[in-house]
């Protein structure tokens, strides 16, 4: 079957359309969903096609997450829209103490088939409380799966897998990438959680990234090519479970690694991945692992400030040069 060009938003809507047609226990819950098909228009076509299954809530994040959880415990498959991932702070108990722990602390009596969809990321001049990349918090909370798609095909395939998964899955989808277009197969495909993709092959250095970081790497590869550095780009796609096999396969080939993410540096996913690489692949490394990330401040508003804080293509190029000693 042929591929079409779709935006990330359209890929999300298509995934939901297909899944909601397949399984009537799936419903979408969140703020401001029906009037504009989501505040980013991300649910285009769904309110008309699935009346009663896209539920507008009051501004009550605690109850939104709790309702998702309670419905998942009693036979439904909720898709919870958090509006902006930053608002997850308003429902942290429901997420970290309840959703993440209920299956485990009740001895596996029950499954929690719930997707928590979190539009995240900066670059939209939305300032400190609407621009964060918070995936590392949830990596650090056993009981949650964490998915961060980049390209439209990944969005569709991973969202479908997340919906079909019987455990709670947090999906972080970058707001600035909603309009980003790419080829998406027409067939009913899924991408399994926990499977990374080597999206560009190279032999000199492995660029490990996800979400918006993938595009920085893709762009950096061109600049690195001019420097005769042949970079390989691994899109991790799922951070938990993590596809360490693909990471290892690439590093065993290139012997060098740069980790790129938009979240701030300290305690970010790059720290965890660096630790795993040095622990499991130390003998294969020819250089220390480098991390490219946002600076350790909240995201500021003014364009020159935000641009300075967020990681850039040139940062990736510099890091790749450093680990290849060129």
């Amino acid at each position: 079957m042929s591929d079409r060009i779709l935006s990330c938003s359209a890929a999300l809507a298509e995934a939901l359309h297909e899944e909601m047609s397949r399984d009537e226990t799936i419903f979408i819950l969140g703020e401001d969903l029906t009037a504009h098909a989501g505040i980013f228009g991300q649910f285009k076509g769904l309110p008309e096609n699935f009346p009663g299954r896209i539920i507008d809530t009051p501004i009550s994040e605690t109850a939104i997450l709790g309702v998702g959880l309670g419905s998942a415990l009693t036979g439904m498959r909720p898709f919870v829209d958090l509006h902006f991932s930053d608002f997850v702070t308003c429902c942290m108990d429901e997420l970290a103490n309840q959703t993440a722990k209920i299956r485990y602390m009740f001895g596996g009596q029950v499954n929690i088939p719930m997707v928590i969809w979190c539009p995240d990321g900066g670059g939209l001049r939305a300032a400190a409380q609407h621009s964060q990349s918070l995936e590392a918090w949830f990596i650090h909370t056993p009981g949650l799966k964490v998915v961060v798609p980049s390209e439209p095909a990944d969005v569709k395939g991973l969202i479908k897998s997340a919906i079909r998964d019987d455990d709670p899955v947090m999906v972080f989808q970058h707001k600035k990438l909603f309009a980003r277009q790419g080829a998406v197969p027409e067939n009913d495909f899924t991408i399994p959680l926990g499977r990374a993709a080597i999206k560009l092959e190279g032999k000199d250095v492995t660029l490990l990234s996800y979400g918006s970081g993938f595009y920085l790497c893709e762009e950096a590869v061109k600049g690195l090519g001019h420097l005769n550095i042949d970079a390989e780009v691994v899109d991790l796609r799922t951070l938990k479970p993590l596809d360490m096999d693909t990471v290892a396969r690439s590093i065993k080939k290139t012997h060098r690694a740069v980790i790129v993410h938009e979240a701030c540096l300290t305690g970010g996913f790059g720290a965890e991945l660096t630790a795993r690489i040095q622990d499991e692949l130390f003998d294969y490394l020819d250089a220390p692992v480098k991390r490219v990330a946002a600076k350790d401040v909240p995201i500021p508003f003014s364009p020159p400030l935000e641009d300075y804080v967020l990681p850039k293509v040139s940062d990736v190029v510099e890091a790749a040069r450093a680990v290849t000693y060129r």
Binding site: T62, G70, N97, R103, Y104, G107
Partner: protein
């Protein structure tokens, strides 16, 4: 004996079971045979049984850190409960939950909860689920006077009201949130009165009067089942024991506790009522206490004879597919 008499004896037996279960748990804890800490509901039996006597097996329930009584009233297995409290492999949660985290999803018990007011958003979700699945189930959420002050309550009640969810919110006002008196921490004396701001009917009940609790709950459950929306019930009650076993209880006087114990014991009050109505004879009463004690001894023996989980079982049950 009429059918109703038999039902009343059965409810009474459940109240006795809770009383004996909690008393025994306190003794076992004092003897250092239970790890961690436990919160007992002695004195609140009429609330637990009065409410749960109105529920079907497929109705949902969320409870609290003080949840043993609610679990028993909803029909939980005593052996599995004691085993869980002991941390044994045969417990409800294979030893992963303990006293504060017992659940039985086969009975609609969506869990005790270690976070105060944690059950309210969950039961609201169960209400949404019931509505979407178009069944006539009901969700009941027990919470305390302490929980009533959490923002979660506001969000959950507002949502339950706008969507007319089939939920009964049961406030067990035992007058102390851990060490903090209700009359200090609550802006109102009657907590149920806050329900007016959500356009939810609310009422206060003598929570130590089994029949009153049951009467009010029956109406609320019927209302929910008919799709007419949520209700709030405030059962005014009192915990005879401390917040946790070992609580020095400096926040209240002995004479206050004694006054409740001596004059307002819910188990004794229901027994007296049944005796006055000639439903419960002295012999039957003795027999019930004896039978309950025997059953609980069996549960304790089961728990004691059960193995602890293997240490590496700590890694099980996180996800549906273990390798993740």
């Amino acid at each position: 004996m009429t059918n109703q008499d038999q039902d009343y004896i059965s409810y009474y037996r459940t109240m006795v079971t809770i009383r004996k279960f909690e008393t025994l748990a306190g003794e076992l804890f004092a003897a250092a045979r239970i790890p961690g800490f436990i919160h007992l509901s002695i004195g609140q039996e009429a609330s637990a049984v009065g409410v749960c006597s109105c529920l079907r097996k497929d109705d949902y329930l969320t409870t609290t850190h003080r949840g043993h009584g609610h679990m028993i009233a909803k029909g939980a297995d005593l052996k599995k409960m004691v085993a869980e409290i002991f941390g044994k492999k045969t417990g409800y949660c294979k030893g992963k939950g303990g006293s504060m985290h017992i659940a039985d999803f086969s009975l609609g018990i969506l869990g005790a909860n270690g976070v105060v007011a944690g059950g309210l958003p969950i039961v609201t979700g169960a209400g949404v689920s019931i509505k979407m699945r178009k069944t006539d189930q009901v969700g009941v959420c027990f919470f305390g006077d302490g929980a009533a002050n959490r923002g979660t309550v506001h969000e959950a009640m507002n949502m339950a009201s706008i969507w007319k969810l089939p939920i009964v919110f049961v406030i067990e006002n035992n007058h102390y949130a851990s060490t903090t008196p209700q009359n200090y921490a609550c802006s109102v004396n009657d907590i149920y009165s806050r329900s007016a701001s959500y356009n939810i009917p609310g009422t206060a009940v003598d929570g130590n009067n089994f029949l009153k609790v049951r009467e009010v709950t029956l109406k609320a459950v019927q209302r929910a089942r008919k799709g007419e929306g949520p209700s709030v019930i405030e059962n005014k009650t009192y915990r005879f024991r401390g917040h946790f076993e070992g609580d020095p209880q400096k926040y209240r006087t002995e004479s206050e506790v004694d006054a409740w114990k001596n004059k307002n014991d819910p188990v004794k009050r229901f027994a007296d009522y049944l005796a006055r109505k000639k439903i419960l004879t002295k012999e039957l009463n003795q027999q019930i206490w004896h039978e309950v004690e025997t059953e609980l001894k069996k549960a304790v023996a089961f728990a004691e004879q059960s193995p602890y989980p293997e240490p590496q079982e700590a890694l099980d049950d996180l996800f549906t597919i273990p390798s993740c």
